[in-house]
Amino acid sequence: MTIFIWISMIVVSLSMAGLMYRVFKGPSVPDRLIALDGIGVMLISAIALLSILFDTRFYIDVILLIAIISFIGTVSFSKFIERGEIIERERHH
């Protein structure tokens, strides 16, 4: 079982490394953003697997947390890219 988790870990890590390449290479900002979002998601997987490996439940909170902040991050970045500001004072519809 442990070996299986290890292997999974390695695959996830490699995936992250791949995405890292996309983050560095770009070419456009949204590309990086998408890759980063992917990394966030994979981080969740990695930590979930780590919890099994370390045999501890204290990282589970971290999982949800990363999900949340990665969502907030994604939203704010997209808004930022789209509009140049992320919080508007007053919206004109």
Partner: protein, 127 residues
């Protein structure tokens, strides 16, 4: 019982890992931002949900912990991932990232251009 559970765990995690790997390949190999977003938001979400499911089962059966957080996490990801993907793609479009030449149609173009004319051109990034 535990064997079955373990097999279940292994399967879900394997599926997740595979999807994860696929995501990466997609993001690396697809030609433009929109297709990459497609890969990221769909398969990545599936992958991580699957892995989380496996971990959830693991904790439930092997550790005796019914983790609400994990469940919540799965739901959360399920809800938010598509939104994120949507927002990112739209942002890319609005920021003027060119789609690949393979793109067949662009329905949004007309609408956007019309709106742009009305509200003045979007301030471009300083970079």
């Amino acid at each position: 019982m535990s064997v079955i559970i373990n097999i279940l765990i292994v399967i879900t995690i394997t599926v997740g890992v595979v999807f994860t790997a696929v995501t990466t390949i997609g993001i690396l190999r697809f030609p433009d931002v929109y297709t990459r977003a497609h890969a990221a938001s769909k398969s990545a979400t599936l992958g991580v949900m699957s892995i989380l499911l496996g971990v959830f089962i693991h904790f439930w059966y092997n550790e005796g912990l019914f983790s609400i957080q994990l469940l919540l996490g799965i739901i959360f990801l399920f809800v938010t991932s598509p939104i994120g993907g949507h927002l990112m793609s739209r942002a890319a479009y609005m920021a003027g990232v060119k789609p690949t030449e393979l793109t067949v149609g662009d329905d949004l173009k007309e609408v956007v251009e019309k709106a742009r004319k009305e509200s003045g051109s979007l301030k471009s990034e300083d970079q």
